[in-house]
């Protein structure tokens, strides 16, 4: 395998990890308004307070891999997507500091709750909008045009789809990490969100395929079609199972029974697989472009000296990072306990 492709895939891996990990903790912020009491909000916040920082590091990692391995793409993409990036960063700032200040505040608590939920939603929406802009392609001279060119029906749709998707991940996460009323509500909302997300995914997929002959040919032309068929089928299956599991959790609550453990944990992994499948579909459509129609990863790749230099770092540290990240998650495994002391 050539190095450029390796880094392209690594970039994909970094983005996917970011979407999955920060996805569920941004999703917690998106779900915030659906929960009412202070205690519930405390619980939601506590369920991700120990991991949000590590999750967000994947965003920085994606950024620097793009910078180091594809500098031309880093320069073009970021300056082209200037405004959504800046708004995303502002959103991330507000929701990030809310973790620190909300638990220490008395009078300003409700403002930090707002900062957390609005910031999370804004960041997620901007990410979806940028995704849409990438899939759709942006005009070559868009940097000097109004930022409104980025705001199309399609990008609005992808923006909302990502918000819904993160919320779904968060529902599944809460089913795993909580008990009682919170778990019940998460299962209920999650079921509705499965519909929303699947609908959005279907529209985005069709729209993408119809928008370009090349992408159409890739999905529906010749033998690829057969090889790619498992992607949508598996996605449908994951969605179906997810819907059913969440239904069982809900039903147990209605009948005041204990929820079976496997039905508590499985929804999260099903939601994750739904995201992985969607991401693979995206990769199929876009490969080998970094900015469709303008720049492929081969055109943007850094000189060999830079790629080789980073290689040992990636090969040694990525597995190491994954292992201590898993260790960290295991330490806080199980339900979130409201009586546990912070720092």
């Amino acid at each position: 395998m050539d190095l450029a492709l390796f880094y392209f895939l690594l970039l994909g891996f970094a983005i996917l990890m970011y979407v999955l990990l920060d996805g569920f903790d941004l999703g917690i912020g998106i779900l915030y308004p659906w929960f009412n009491s202070d205690e519930e909000h405390d619980h939601l916040m506590r369920s991700v307070a120990h991991v949000w920082d590590g999750n967000e590091t994947w965003l920085v990692f994606g950024g620097v891999i793009l910078f180091g391995a594809f500098p031309a793409a880093y320069a073009l993409l970021l300056s082209t997507l200037y405004l959504p990036i800046m708004l995303m960063l502002i959103g991330l700032i507000f929701r990030g500091v809310a973790f620190e200040y909300r638990f220490k505040s008395t009078t300003s608590k409700k403002w930090w709750s707002r900062a957390f939920s609005l910031g999370s939603t804004l960041a997620a929406f901007c990410q979806g909008l940028m995704l849409g802009a990438l899939v759709q392609g942006v005009p070559a001279d868009s940097i000097s045009q109004s930022s409104l060119v980025l705001l199309t029906p399609f990008t609005l749709l992808t923006g909302l789809a990502v918000v819904a998707g993160y919320a779904l991940l968060a529902c599944a996460y809460l089913v795993m990490k909580s008990r009682g009323a919170i778990q019940h509500k998460a299962a209920q909302r999650g079921r509705a969100l499965v519909w929303v997300v699947m609908l959005a995914m279907a529209i985005v997929s069709l729209w993408t395929a119809l928008s370009s002959d090349q992408i159409w040919a890739r999905w529906f032309g010749g033998w690829h079609a057969l090889a790619l068929l498992p992607l949508p089928l598996l996605a449908l299956m994951a969605a179906r199972l997810l819907y059913r599991d969440l239904g069982r959790v809900r039903k147990s609550h209605h009948q005041a029974r204990d929820v079976a453990e496997k039905h508590e944990d499985r929804p999260f992994w099903l939601a994750v697989s739904l995201f992985v499948l969607a991401f693979m579909g995206l990769l199929v459509s876009l490969f080998p472009a970094l900015l469709p129609g303008q720049l492929s990863y081969i055109q943007a790749v850094a000189p060999d000296a830079s790629l080789w230099f980073m290689l040992p770092g990636v090969l040694i540290f990525v597995p190491l990072i994954l292992s201590y990240t898993i260790w960290g998650y295991r330490i806080f495994a199980g339900k979130v306990e409201d009586y546990e002391q912070g720092y």
């Binding site: 120990h50 920082d53 970021l78 300056s79 770092g313 806080f332 720092y343």
Partner: protein, 482 residues
Amino acid sequence: MDFDSVQLSAILSRIQFAFTVSFHIIFPSITIGLATLIALWEGLWLKTGNPLYLQLAKFWIKPFAITFGMGVVSGIVLSYEFGTNFSKFSELTGAVLGPLMAYEVLTAFFLEAGFLGVMLFGWQRVSAKLHFFASCTVAVGTWISAFWIIAANSWMHTPAGYVMVDGKFEVASWLEVIFNPSMPYRLSHMLLATFLTATFVVMATSAWYLRRQQHQAFARKSLSLTLWLALVLAPLQAVVGDFHGLNVKEHQPIKLAAMEGIWAEREANVPLLLFAIPDPKNETNHFEVKIPGLASLILTHDWHGELPGLKSVPKADRPNVPLVFFSFRIMVGLGVLMIFIAVAGLWLRWRGTLYQSRWFLTVCSFMAPSGVIAVLAGWYVVEVGRQPWLVQGLVRTMDVVSPLPPERVLLSLSLFVITYSLLFGVYLYFFRKLIKKGPPSLEELQQLQIGVKASGYAVSFTKALAADSPVTQSNTSQEGKI
């Protein structure tokens, strides 16, 4: 875009970067040193069993956490700003700087973030030793992070180990890139600066408690410790700073000329200017207060030594002289004050009146922001002093800014100014609130110690309680806050 709007957009991008990076550096300057101190206290507690050390660690971990959080969110902005606002620069230097930053993320950011969760929230989930390990890992992570980012920054001052291919930088030797000529000096200067910053924050807080006669045992312990630290670190910093200055003389003589206010093309017998008002228009200084020959002596080790001045290059190649000149004096002035305080502390200790001397405690408590101000001033010397270059002698800042419409940059800049001003106020408010609240009492810590020592025991006990009765759960949930 016409020429004027290109210029305007470039200026706005530069202001935005200067503003966001200045805001960011405040927080790492505190956390690098503070993480190290917290790990040190935790280690001392494990070794001696003296609960005062645990009290110190537990108390400072809260200000540390809010400072770290501010550093994280303001740092993410920077990793994207190279691309958004300096796209041409990113494209030119990405092959050199990108991999260094990739290593920073791989070896430091993940490490800090991964173990921070355990450090902050793991007190009852892991054993005391494992917790200490997590704290140490966070501290080491902050040093590693400083290593890579200083390597990248230093390369922009003293570029080495590169070749130009098609007008872009490519790397010929990574060792030369990383350990470029100014890197060892800048790294040691910066690390010492962060240790000093944290030392003086802690010192000021302890002095403030002692003046108000609060938390006496706690405050005495930390005042004593930080004064010893300052006694070693502050003079050492002066020595390292001097070496750094010699390095600047060799590689960036114009920056040095701006620092010292030397205008003549070459000047022998250069005085040390204690004060002056540099006048770039007439290329001279006003109101000089000077010690003849001392700058020559410090920089060339000869009273009559010659130094190149600002007029040896065209006006377009000179930095903003007054800004560099005054920033340098602020930094050095604060450094001298730090040495003075450390020595005065030693003298008072010897006299046995350290904890009673009201004037000394008052001065100490005003030193809380001294480290941060010195760090900011120092970075203005370094960064403004390199202008008009972004990569010394090779890339001009004005040439590599993204061709963005000025109003777009103005919008983001305004958003940052509003957001950061608000957050800075909030940060100070909560920092003050935590300091006013004081350290956790020894009784509280004792309870905690039971939890720590019998790792997981307390948690499972309470868990069992909670499972039995939902009432217990809602009652105890109040305690978890903070």
